[in-house]
Structure formats: C-alpha cells, structure tokens
Symmetry: D2
Amino acid sequence: MSVSPFDHPWLSALLGDDEIARHFRPEAELSAMMIVETTLARVQSDLGIISADAGRAIAATLANFRPNPAELSAGTARDGVVVPEWVDQIRHIVGPLHAHDVHFGATSQDIIDTALILRLKPSVAALEARLAELDSRLSQLAHKIGAQPLQAYTRMQPAMQITWADKIGAWRGPFLRHLDRLRELKPRLLVVQFGGPAGTLDKFGDRGSALVAAFAEALELGAPDAAWHSARDSITELAGWLSLVTGSLGKIGQDVALLAQMGDVTMAGGGKSSAMPHKNNPVAAEVLVALARFNATQLSGMHHALVHEQERSGAAWTLEWMLLPQMVVATGAALARATSLLEPGSLSIRTTTQGRSDS
Amino acid sequence: MSVSPFDHPWLSALLGDDEIARHFRPEAELSAMMIVETTLARVQSDLGIISADAGRAIAATLANFRPNPAELSAGTARDGVVVPEWVDQIRHIVGPLHAHDVHFGATSQDIIDTALILRLKPSVAALEARLAELDSRLSQLAHKIGAQPLQAYTRMQPAMQITWADKIGAWRGPFLRHLDRLRELKPRLLVVQFGGPAGTLDKFGDRGSALVAAFAEALELGAPDAAWHSARDSITELAGWLSLVTGSLGKIGQDVALLAQMGDVTMAGGGKSSAMPHKNNPVAAEVLVALARFNATQLSGMHHALVHEQERSGAAWTLEWMLLPQMVVATGAALARATSLLEPGSLSIRTTTQGRSDS
Amino acid sequence: MSVSPFDHPWLSALLGDDEIARHFRPEAELSAMMIVETTLARVQSDLGIISADAGRAIAATLANFRPNPAELSAGTARDGVVVPEWVDQIRHIVGPLHAHDVHFGATSQDIIDTALILRLKPSVAALEARLAELDSRLSQLAHKIGAQPLQAYTRMQPAMQITWADKIGAWRGPFLRHLDRLRELKPRLLVVQFGGPAGTLDKFGDRGSALVAAFAEALELGAPDAAWHSARDSITELAGWLSLVTGSLGKIGQDVALLAQMGDVTMAGGGKSSAMPHKNNPVAAEVLVALARFNATQLSGMHHALVHEQERSGAAWTLEWMLLPQMVVATGAALARATSLLEPGSLSIRTTTQGRSDS
Amino acid sequence: MSVSPFDHPWLSALLGDDEIARHFRPEAELSAMMIVETTLARVQSDLGIISADAGRAIAATLANFRPNPAELSAGTARDGVVVPEWVDQIRHIVGPLHAHDVHFGATSQDIIDTALILRLKPSVAALEARLAELDSRLSQLAHKIGAQPLQAYTRMQPAMQITWADKIGAWRGPFLRHLDRLRELKPRLLVVQFGGPAGTLDKFGDRGSALVAAFAEALELGAPDAAWHSARDSITELAGWLSLVTGSLGKIGQDVALLAQMGDVTMAGGGKSSAMPHKNNPVAAEVLVALARFNATQLSGMHHALVHEQERSGAAWTLEWMLLPQMVVATGAALARATSLLEPGSLSIRTTTQGRSDS
C-alpha cells in the first residue's frame, strides 16, 4: 500500500529515503527482534539464568525461524503488539522442554523497544554522516561563491547587500550545533530497554543489573540506569532533534525558493510544469519546506506520547509507532534533498553585482 | 515498505483499514487520474474544444495506458508531481497529431486534485455508512444495558450513580452532529478542480464555465464557483471533520479503558500480554485513543497548509499529500475498531449495583 | 501581566483585538456567570423548583454581588475551577434560609460552559460582521484594480499573467464558504450547557427538559438534546472554523508579503526598521501569517481535548481554557488587520503592464 | 486583560507562576532592553566605536528613560516591533549631537533577542533549581514510602505488584536526564544576539567580533560564533526541553490521577466540587496533564518558526513571541504544582498490602 508518501512508489522518490526507510521495513524489524531475543537467551544462558541446553535450543530455533505472517497480523490485531503471537510461534517450535526459557523474564516492550533502538542506531549514524556531508557541501559552496554579493531581505523587503558567504554562514551555523546535540543525546538514546512485565526485572533477583549490562554489551548498546518502558523522554528528544534538523533545512529551502523567485538563483534541472514547460521550479527547495513542516507537525504528537499512563500505556506507545519512523525517514530525505540542492552545478547564482533597481 | 503503520503488514491489522486504504493505493490513484484525463478529453471533444478525432485518439490511448513506473518515479523526483511525466508518456503514445490535445488547458493540479476528490467521495461515503452503523450499535447497546447502573466519574473521582443509558447517550450525541456536519461539507468538498496553469481557465475564453460544468457533471461531482487550486479550505475542513470523529471515538476508547481498569467492564477477547497471559487488555479502546491523538496531531499540519503561496505552493500542497490520506485511513480504522468494540459480546459489564466501597 | 501577546501593552496593538478580547476579561466572565446563575434561579422559581422567595433572594443578592478576588484565586487553585468558591460566597450572602437553593441542581461546568457560550455569541457575531466587511472590502478592491494585470506565480516561479481580479477572486472564495460554515455551526454551538453533577439532570425528575428549555430561552441560546459536558465537539468545531478563517487570511498575508518583495505592491505606511529607515515593511501581511500559524498550532490541542475522560475531565477541560480564548482573539485580530491591509490607499499596486524581464 | 490563563486573575493561581512570569512583564522587558542598549553604548565607547561623550550621554539618558507607552503601542502596530519607536524616543532625549550613536550599528532584533536571553537566563535558572528540588522531593518520598507495595498497571489493566520505590524511580529517571540536557543546551542558548541589520556587523569592520565579545562579557552571556537572527535552533531547542519537562510531569500527573481513581492514593486537600462537597479531586495532577498537553501543542509552532525566511522573517519571529513565554511559564507552573503535589502530607497512599480483589 501507499497511504504514506514514504511507502509510495513514486512519491517516495520525492519525499522518501530508501537508505533510512530500509531500517523500518518489516523484515528489518523481525530481524532486529530476533537478534534481541537470541541475544537475551545467550546472555541468560551465559549467566546461568537458563540452562545451556535451553540457550542452544533457542538459538538454533531462532536462526531459522520464519514466522507465519497471517498469524502475526491476527495476533497484533488482538494483542495490540506483535510480540505475544511471535513468541508463541517461537515457543511452539522450540518445544515444551525449553518453551518456558524463551523470552524468559521479558515483556513485549523489552523486545519492541530494544529492536527499535537497534535500528535507530544505524539510522542515526547515517543521518550524522549526512550532516557532516552537508556541512562540507556548504563549506565548498562558500569557498566557490562566498565572495559574490547578494541582496539581503528582512521582513520580505530588500535590506542591504551581503555576500553569499554571509548567507551560507547563516545556513551552516545550526548544523554544527545539531552535530553537537546528536553527540550529546546518543548515550541517552542508544540503550537497551529491559525490565520485564512491570519494568522491575522481577524474575532475576540480584542478577538483574548484571543481566542488563551483559545484554547491552552483547548488543553494543548502552545499559540504562533503569528500564525506560514508561519514560519516553530520550525517544522524544530524538524526535525533537529530527525536527530541529528538518527545520534548519526548511529554512534553507525557503530561502532558495525565495531567491529563485527573485531571480537571484536559478535551479539547474528544476522541475517542469505540465502546462508551462519553460518553467524551472525549485522543487527540492519546496520539498525541504514541506518536510520541515511535516516533522514540526509530528513532533507535537511525540510530546503528547510522553503522558504515558502507569507501567505501560498502549495508547501512548502506539502513537509513537505512528509518528517516529516517518520522522526519521523525513529527516533522511530532507538531508539527501538538501545535499543535492546545494551541489555545485545545481544552483546557479546571478553573478552581476547590480541587484534589482528597487533594492 | 512500511514506514507508516497504515502500510505495514501487521500493524495495519491493528491501526489500518483496507476498505479505505485501497482508495489511496497507487493503482487507484492512476486509475482516477486516467478517468479525469479521459473525461476531460471527452467533454472537450463534446464542446468542440478539441476535435472529435483527438477525443477518440486520447480515449483509446488512455483505455490501455500502462505508465512506465520507473519513469513516473524519476519524473516525480524531478518535477515535484507525477503529472508532467505521466502526461508526456500519454502524449508520446497518442502521437504527434493529437499530443497537443492531451491535457489541453489543464495543469497538474487539476488532475491530482480532481483525482483526489474522486477517491475521497467513496471514502467519505464509507465513513458515513460506518457512522450510521456505529450509531445503530450504540442504540442497540443502550437498549440492552441502558437500565444498568454505572458509577459516574468526574475529575477522575467517583461522583454519583448514573445508568449505562446516560453514558451511551453521552457517547452517541456527537455522532449525530458529525453526520450533520458531513452532509453540510460534502457539497463544498466533492467538486472538481479545474483552472489551468494559474486557475483562470485561460485557454477557454468564454467557454470556461461550460467546460467546468460539463466536466463536473460527467464525473458526478459538483462544479465550484471558481478553481480552488490555492484555496484549500474545503480539504482542510474535511481533515477537521475526520479529527472530530476520531476525537469522539477516542473519548469512547478512553472511557472504556478506564471502565476496564475499574472493573466496570471486561473485554471479551481483549489482548493478551507476552509476560502475563491472564491479562485481558482493552486493546481496541487504546487504539481509539491513539488514533484520536494521531489525527489531532496531523490536523495542525493541514491548517498550516492553508498558507498556500500565490497561485500554487509546492510546499503547502506537498504537505497535504503527507497528511490527509493517513487521516482518512485513521478515521476509517477508528470507526471499524469502535464498532467491533461496542458489539454485544465484546464488552461485558459488571451488573451488580454495588460499586466500590468508596464510591 | 503579559505572558501572552494578547494581554501585552504594546504587542496587543500588533496582535490583539480589544473588541473581541473584552469578552474574555475577568469582569466579563464574572458578569456572564452571574447572568447564568441569576437566570437559573429565576427559571427554577418560575417552574416551582425553588420557591418564589428563594428566587427573589438570590436575584437580589446576585444583582449586587462583588466576589472577593483573593478568595476566588485561592479557590481556583484548590478546586481547579472558580465556581465552588464563588458559589460559596454567594450562598454566604444569601444566608442559610435560601443558600441551598443557590446553584440548585447545577454543577461548575454548567456555569462555566454556559457563561462561555454567552460570551462566544457576541464574539462570533463580531467575527461574522467582519467577514462580511472583509468580503465587501475585497469586492471594492476588485472593482478598483481588478482589470490590472498581475504576474502569477506557481511553485515560486513566474507562471503566466493574470489580473488582479483573478487574485482577489482566489482570496475571496473561502470567505463566502466560511460564512456558510458559521451559519451551519452556530445552532450547534450557541446552546446552554446544563446537566448537574453528572450531566443527568438528576435533581429534576421529569421536569429536567422543561427546565433546560426555559433556561435556554431566557438566555436566548438554544437548548441542546443533551448536556455536552463531556462531548466537546461543537466547541472544537468552532476552533477549527477560527483556524480556517485565519488560514485563509494567512494566505492573503503571505501573498501580499511576496507581492511586496517582488515590487508588485507597495505598502503605504508599512513598518519601518530601526536600522534602515527607508524600508516599508509589510507588517500587517506578516502578522496574518503569524496568526494563521498560531491558530493552526493551537487547534491541535483543542482536538486532543476531545479525549475527555468520563463525566468530566479536569485535564481536557482546563486545556480548552488555555487555548480557545486566544484563538478567538487571534481570529478577530487577523480579520481587523486584513481589512486595514486591503483598504484602498493601504496597498499600492505596480500599474505598469511590464513585469520583470525574466517573467 | 486575561485572554491567556497565565495573565488571568484567578486562573493564574491554578495554571500560572508568578516567579517565572515576572520576567515576561512589560517592565521587565523594557528594563532588559535598556540594559542591552546601555551596555552596547558603554562597550562601543570603551572600544572607541562611539565617543566617550556619546557613551556618557546615552548612559545618562537611559538611566532615567521612561518611554511613552501609547507611542510604543502605536509604533509596534506600525513597525511590527517596539524597537524603532523606542529608539526614536531615546534619540529624541539624547539630542541631535549623539542621537546617531544610540543603537549604533544595531537592529531591532539584536535588542529584542538579547533582552529575551537576559530574561531567559534567570527563568531557566529558576527552573533548574526547581528540577533539583523536585528530584529531592522524589528522593524523600521514595525514602518514606518506597517499601510499600503497589499494584502495577500495564495497558490499563492490573499487572503485577511492584513497590512505590519502583514507581517513584520511574518518575524520577527523566528529570536527571533533563538536568543533563539543560546543562548541555545552556551554552548554546545563553548567548547574545548582535549582528546589525543583516547580521553581518557591517558597521564595525574588523572590530565586529571584539565588540560582540565585549558586549557578551559585559552582559554575562556567551558570545556566539555568528549572529543567530535567522537561525532559531537554540531557542527552539529550549522549547523542546520545556515540553520534555512538562511531559515527564504530565506522566506523573496522569499516574496520580489514575492512582487516585483506583483508591491507591488520596489527595489531602484535593479540590472540591460545587455539587458534590464530599469529593477530593486530584486537581494538581490534572493540571500537570493539561500543562503537558499545552506545551506539546505549542512546541509544534516553535518548530514551524524555524522556517525563518531570509535575513529576518517578521512572521516566524512574531510567532515565537506568541508561544515561547507561555511555554516557559507553563513549565514553571508545572514544576511548582508537581513539587506541592508530591510533598509529604499531600499524597496519602493506601498502605494495606491487599489490593483490590480483581488485581
């Protein structure tokens, strides 16, 4: 289907991002869930929480496990989350001897949330690399055209003359801060979720924190001070960061569209119109604005989802699922579109020093 | 892919709605676009705006037209909208003699917007039917359990005793108003968009309004007073209506979840937990809350998209594409989930008149 | 204080609206509450629900009642709503004989909500009058400059030439629909709220609906089918309407700011800059955009407030108080600013038919 | 006036915060603007940018300057910002000899934004102190009641037994992270804005950065790498932080309201009802939810304001003014309400180990 543009055969070419979106494909999700459950069994076996036999049986089963998709779908409709049905299928294959050791002491949220973090980690790394690339692109552009004069506009009216270096500098500033922000938030975000039914590691007595530490280490994630099943601030902080990034890109897009309207820049290979083939539309610039406003919209819902009732809110948690993946992909798309937009040869600037007569 | 839950193999079973979502599949979109373009050619031929030969050639081509998907995707990335590339492909097949008559006097927005309205029409009809069904379900429920006593809660504290008839009446009230609102907005919404490049029907001289009238009649849609290419209020009004509906359903969901927590109702076939098989979770009730908050979130973006620059805003228009289809599907899903939730046999109420000791 | 620009000594001159804001002043609120309580007592006395003596005593007390402000404030902090303390003060003055008949069978929400509707009625009437005035202003403008040519822009690029009549027609279209929408929603909105503690009119037996009818008639409001204490759809529908109006005005503002940037219009008396006295900034146009985005933002919260728990949600109700008054005032301000902006002599258009060389 | 609850005589007692709101009073704003302008003149005089005489004349004038309020209001309506009129009044008093040296090389945004930061600094410090106090309150509460058993709820259904220490630990976790986040964002936020008309320090040649450094040092703020007139990410980051804090508090409020409904806690001095005096409503808990949803709503608008056109967007900047002050005050209010709610003696817990029969 294609209710969302990010899942749409041709709109995703405009608005989507395959490199990021692949982390949100069902197969990537199932694969991450399998890694989480396998790692849990291995670590529990290492710590003697389940037997070595159980650990081997679970690992062998999961290595080849292909869940029944129709049942996953029916289970999700019934349970509100895919895990109970998925675990049932695994337990059925593992067989009665070790079924009890599958998913031992865990709850659905441990699996879903940790599997999400496992996929956010490469997503965020890809975004970080693109931020660095964008910054380098802006630096090149400043090097190339920075000395050229440019009309400044304040309150939509011609102000004074600046240079392209000034403009590019104003665009670039936030991205260096965004990189700092990302470095700061990653240790909070990239941590396992593990707590069992009520987040209290109740099945593990005094071995709980050792288990979490080993589980985190095996997954190459951090170990949080406590389960965050009902404390979604770091997930929401990421959402805010995504929207800060797209907002800064939207500002570039808005500026480029306005510069194009004034004739200060021309888009090489801009979009054409079905009615007016002569046109050269600043499509990528407009897309940056649309993606900025999209994320600014979604972010509000992520903050509402902080009001997470008690030890697990079905409503608030489900709302995150509807918002966060699209925000990540939108951010990836915006970075990709911006980097293309700003590449030498894409934007041509008006090089005459004479501005419009009225400026 | 499945970045959105509405396009996801198992989350769509929880949050999606196939009957509504099919109107937003790419094939449905292409089919609607083809109907729009075919109808335009036929009506223009009838009015002598293009020749009868051209009309026949275009109709014949479109009847069998299968666009090249990779090129549609590349064209959308370039042009910001699929139409220019799609029209180019049609013109190429129609051949040089009549190519000029394809899409004559039209612009991308005429095709996309009218094709959207063609699909919103059955979507909205399905929602209307479900609203009527929900109302009837609530009426049955009131008939069955209305006389039973129920603890009222105000500000989350036990207030006085009411009856289930009171509760169901409070739930039902808004839906009758929503049906009125839908009847009022449909004539504004279900109209063709046709205006050409700048919305002025510039190619048609004094035949413009006759063309729009005939075009609308042929599509069984209304003819607006003027093109609404840059006036998106009726689309946004629909979005508001969708969110009013899901908001009223979210209130039911929140009430049911709270009633379930207090033990005033039990969910037959409620969701189970991977850790606590004895549980009987009010999954559908929580989903109603999540969908309500989802639409409340999206609606804000639709209102931002009213600030539509000049004769066509790429940014604001694109933003609509990212929001509206998901809102329609979310509303369909909420109505479907609510109707199941309220069916006799799904909800069991506590029939004893003794409440909790502190109420 | 002045945390909000609508309550700020100089920002309110830019963003506020005294004529509308006065309905949200504390004295207007207290006055409306007094009218509600007085009317309730009179109608209950007429129907024999309370004695004629009680009715007279209450009316006499309320006619001269000046509540103790510090106690109102303390009571609100304690009770979450001003009514319990305010009623206590009234009962104290009325004295023990008739104290019980004050606020008989009513609850806080009956008073607050009906007093809100009493003030929304003239607010909405003022907005309606301004919509009509704006429409007439647009009509005059079209008459005056409609024949003048104007460059159309699609996707921020010059498209074809249109006329000012086309532009003004595109601006005007939504407002005629907004007037229709307002006519449709008013009968749903302008109704009393009366239901008692749980909305069930429990104190009144079979006289409940007669009481509501008489109460509504006396207040010149409609009588709803049922109490809407927990069904906030009509309040939220109004919020949506307000944001549709400001959205359509924001589109005009955005267009004017862009036209000013291109030199297609000049603002007589536009704002000046502290650094560049030669500038002529399209301040009112920008304000329209800001107010549109403000309302688009607030609206989301109003839709979240539809998820109103049980028989009265303190949280959702309180949220409305934080959002709706500002939305009403923002809409009034936007209409006032737009009407000034569009008056002959405010906007000067470039009358030459030659556009920019690149269009 | 009192369009906003934060400026309202009795609603501010419920929802407002005097200690924070005072930084947003007009007199505080004028005072901060005066400090900014005075400091600028002093630093410019020290650096020889303006003469020592000019510096003294300006300082003397500003020390006693009382602007004409009616003219400030009229100027703001005309110019979209108060500074041009305010500077005109100052220049008039300073007299022709030094008028030119007043506000030398500065623009409105330099004054407004730096004056905002000067007031955000103590606001944020107050919030930081309250976060620390809340954490200490939670720590005391855990010490006092941590060992007591408590029913956990997942998906609104009884799950397993936990302890109050578990619950309080889950509440407390985010606030430690919020303190970290605040420490990280402060160096980005608490910096001067100074750039002149287009942000390029054009009047100062090679002395620009020395001036900014001295100006920042004199104001005890940081010196940014570049003017941030059009790069609003750090302001918006603060808004996100505010909403993270209120979201975490809203989660506590929602939990307390649900615990109160289940009878697991009782509110000492909870709010009463005008109709049901026996009730003990969890008013402060509900207020926390309302404030969380309020900030979650406003935040979206702040992110839209990142799309800041060109060298200064009147629209986006104005939108910030409408949102940020209310968010800061809402956060202060939420912290104050939460700290009271959690004080020993406010919440009573049910100490029996027997839960409800159905849990």
